[in-house]
Amino acid sequence: MNSETLLSLIFAYLALACVAFAVLVIMLRNPVQCALALVGVVFHLAGIFILLRAEFLAAAHIIIYAGAIIVLFLFTMMLLNLGVVERARQFHVQAPLAIVVGAILFLEFVVLTGATITVGAQGAHSPAWVAGQGGNVQALGQVLFRDYLLPFEIASVLLTAAVVGAIVLAKQKPRRPRSSSQMGVGEWMAERYEKAKTREQDPAEPR
């Protein structure tokens, strides 16, 4: 068994596992299980990145997706009451049609991949160059912080804005006094009584 076969086998496993977990994400009923399936996708994808010698991105994917984004999903699920949703019908009426269109799209992608995509001009970042920089992380750092520093800064601004926006959106608004139609009878009576009392104390207000 030479190393090429080995790598291909590893790829086959990782890719199949990715697809399987992805299918689970959209098939499972329980959102928590979906989220865990998504974690599975991310892990196997990280394996694929390691195959591609993009170690930094592999680690970054796990840290950001598994460590932050999906945890955030789980948090949200735990904060919200999901009982009602879970019992409801899970799939759309348009599901069969959508699956057909999705299959067609996938076929088209495959056809395009095999038939028309030709590998383009080779860039300057050969494996030798990457090794010269001291590895994948250093090479990525060189590209990111030298050539694409401004986009990187803009991305950080985007994140800041997103954080602020998320806080503003999710912040619990101060509870507004409810209108009388939403009150229980007892509450309503009590409030009426309070109003009557203050009116007696304050003769300035016309009755």
Binding site: V19, L52, I69, L80, Q122, L144, D147, L159, G165, A170
Partner: protein
């Protein structure tokens, strides 16, 4: 150089993309719809990295960093919207959120 060939990675990316797309189209739970969007982004990332390695161009990998940023921002804002929405409408069912109806 790249084992297996680039096409396999592209097909994998396409598969993840399509599965994510189907999730968006098919599921009624808003949370799962969001997860499906993450799947779409992951599929794009595979494609980026695949091309980056095949073409010896680091830009593909750098772009994945930006894609991750966007995913994180999207998740934060999206989940905040979901929280606000479920407080407001008491539902996460996409079918019931149709105020945009003409």
């Amino acid at each position: 150089m790249i084992i297996p060939a680039l096409e396999y990675y592209l097909v994998l990316g396409a598969a993840l993309f399509i599965i994510g797309l189907l999730g968006v189209l098919v599921r009624r739970n808003l949370l799962i719809v969001f997860m499906s969007i993450e799947l779409i982004l992951l599929g794009a990332n595979v494609t980026f990295v695949g091309f980056a390695v095949a073409l010896n161009n680091m830009l593909g990998q750098a772009f994945v960093i930006f894609s991750l940023t966007v995913a994180a921002a999207e998740a934060a804002v999206g989940l905040a919207i979901i929280v606000a929405l479920s407080r407001h409408r008491d539902t996460l069912n996409v079918d019931e959120i149709d105020t945009l109806k003409g």
